[in-house]
């Protein structure tokens, strides 16, 4: 559970609810609703990372969108450094976005195929309209170097890169405004195992280097275990269990958490016989 320390948390999500109305099926009577989130609360402390684990339909992607203020909640608040993001006036919200950025799941869809890498990476800066073109290019170069890509990659197009490299470009884009919080929605699910390892190491290094907090959304328990200090297990729009990963995975209390853990296929450490 969230600990009330002297320092207020970086991100505070309180009783977040999101219901969607579906198209009407009958002429009279209320339209059916999808109850994507039914009251979710958690905190992210500065410099620490929180993982949100769940399967499809659990509401975890909805949490990501609401935290990033890409969608408005039916009720509940999302506060970054004490300010409720959904009540901020537009201009203030735009400048506040400097502090929180997002990395998306699909490395093939999250980069505009018609723009150069330099332009893609500099987009968050360009949206803030505070820096000159030259400065943006400079910072883009820095961000690319931080993720292990070269300055010569800046004028190339996304299709010239592999999935892992594209994900690095997406991470560079998220880093460029030097945010305090990065929301990563399944950042490595679409990647091969060896590439996944490289990107996870990179994310870990960036965390240590820049003190970034991650809100990591994933269905993969192992990935969450690797990067996060705290884990929330989401099921049908509610958090059913929460705690440090080591604790949670070893002594899971809630039946759903146990089901999740049991379902993960294990590799034998000894030489046990397998079914023929």
């Amino acid at each position: 559970m969230s600990q009330k320390t002297a320092v207020p948390p970086l991100l505070q999500v309180t009783d977040l609810v999101r219901h969607y109305a579906l198209p009407r099926e009958k002429l009279f009577g209320p339209p059916p609703t999808v109850k994507a989130l039914n009251g979710v609360s958690f905190d992210v402390q500065a410099g620490k990372s929180v993982g949100i684990v769940g399967e499809s339909g659990s509401g975890k992607s909805t949490i990501a969108r609401l935290v990033m203020a890409l969608d408005t909640p039916t009720s509940g608040t999302v506060s970054l450094e004490g300010r409720d993001l959904h009540t901020l006036p537009r201009a203030e919200l735009r400048t506040a976005r400097r502090d929180f950025q997002m990395v998306f799941q699909d490395p093939y869809g999250s980069l505009d195929p018609r723009q150069t890498v330099a332009r893609i990476v500099a987009e968050p800066l360009e949206a803030l309209a505070e820096t000159s073109r030259a400065e943006q290019r400079e910072r883009a170069s820095e961000a690319l170097a931080a993720v292990g890509l070269r300055t010569t990659d800046m004028d190339k197009y996304p299709h010239e890169f592999s999935g892992g490299q594209r994900q690095r470009i997406a991470i560079a884009r998220a880093l460029i405004t030097r945010p305090k919080l990065i929301v990563a929605d399944e950042p490595v699910s679409a990647l091969d195992v060896s590439v996944q390892a490289q990107v996870l190491n990179l994310m870990q290094d960036l965390q240590q280097q820049f003190g970034i907090s991650y809100l990591l959304i994933s269905h993969d328990l192992a990935v969450v275990n690797h990067l996060c200090d705290d884990v929330c297990v989401v099921w049908k729009g509610k958090i059913v269990e929460q705690g440090p990963p080591a604790e949670l995975f070893r002594h899971a209390q809630h039946p759903y958490t146990r089901t999740l853990l049991e379902a993960v296929p294990r590799t034998p450490t000894g030489g046990t016989l397998l079914p023929a």
């Binding site: 590439v195 390892a197 996870l200 379902a263």
Partner: protein, 329 residues
């Protein structure tokens, strides 16, 4: 006689930068009732290999070598003969349950299609068979859902329907290409258990492709590790998991994050990235990325070294690697 015998299979594809070998001389055999897993990352050639078994490669692909299925040679076989085999003697389950089913046909029609095509069943008879199949794969309330459309089912159920379709004519060989990758982990477990029980029940042979070592460990008794179009390591699953002789196999195992591992641990990575097909080295495909590479690795294709328990590895530096690994803390 083994059910499936693949010898020296080479497949050349047309890429944007010219022709490239996607599969470079692989061999394996499969007996009736045996389960084989193929593990590898994107671009290693695993999907292309099984597509060649079904004769589903693009027309610009060139296949050389031999694929003997129950004694008949499949390489170079006429399309109309391959149609007799597909869906009838070899069934295939695909990765994406969303797109593997035709959205405008009912499931009764789709699952019944192989029955009507290969067995010549009438619509009514096929329908009865379909009902039995759907009940076997665990579709709840199957009788009332025969005329439903794919979009009315969940992802896991659609994959079950796909399995029913693959099994309809009682094939001797079932190929499953990443059947659970697009599914949630709890559904994955159910689907894998279903496949295992069906395979055991009907005495089918199974080829399962996955990038997930855990899935391979729990489902198949023999495995192949593929990289850059070659089989770098093969053998009984138990032996390969225990011994992990090839550096690529070691890299794959080391790169996975594990539940319960301490925090702050850096994952061991394989340096570099998978080169494009046209850029693969002439000798061992892993040369350059492998930390044990020597000059000879770039030029000569490593021959298969046999280890105990029918465990084959293609690497010329096995002994040195084994001593280093043993010496490491």
């Amino acid at each position: 006689m083994p059910l499936l015998q693949v010898k020296d299979l080479h497949i050349e594809l047309q890429t944007q930068r010219g022709p490239a070998e996607a599969v470079r001389g692989i061999d394996f055999t499969l007996e009736r009732g045996e389960t084989l897993g193929i593990v590898g990352e994107s671009g290693c050639g695993k999907s292309i290999t099984v597509m060649s078994l079904m004769g589903l490669l693009p027309s610009t692909a060139r296949v050389t070598g031999s694929i003997r299925f129950d004694g008949t040679e499949l390489v170079g076989r006429a399309e109309k003969d391959m149609c007799q085999i597909r869906g009838n003697r070899i069934g295939m389950i695909f990765q994406e349950p969303m797109t593997a089913l035709n959205p405008v046909h009912t499931i009764a029609r789709q699952v019944g299609e192989p029955l009507r095509l290969h067995r010549g069943l009438s619509k009514a008879d096929a329908r009865k068979e379909v009902l039995a199949l759907l009940e076997r794969v665990g579709i709840p309330d199957a009788a009332s859902r025969l005329d439903a459309y794919p979009h009315q089912f969940s992802g896991g159920q659609r994959q079950r329907i796909g399995i029913a379709m693959a099994l309809a004519c009682g094939p001797d060989l079932l190929i499953a290409d990443e059947p659970t990758t697009a599914l949630d982990v709890t559904i994955q477990k159910q689907i894998l258990e279903l496949i295992q029980s069906l395979v055991a029940e009907r005495g089918m042979a199974l080829i399962l492709i996955s990038h997930d070592l855990g899935v391979i460990a729990q489902t198949v008794s023999k495995m192949l590790v593929m990289y850059g179009g070659s089989v770098v390591e093969s053998g009984p699953t138990e032996a390969v998991f225990a011994r992990r002789a090839h550096p690529y196999t070691q890299g794959l195992f080391a790169a996975r994050p594990a539940i319960g591992a301490p925090r702050g641990l850096r994952l061991a990575t394989i340096k570099g990235s998978v080169p494009e097909l046209v850029d693969l080295p002439k000798g061992c495909p892993f040369a350059g990325r492998c930390s044990y590479t020597v000059d000879a690795c770039h030029t000569t294709r490593p021959p298969a070294t046999m280890l105990p328990h029918d465990h084959a590895v293609r690497c010329i530096r096995l002994e040195e690697i084994a001593t280093e690994v043993a010496a490491a803390p």
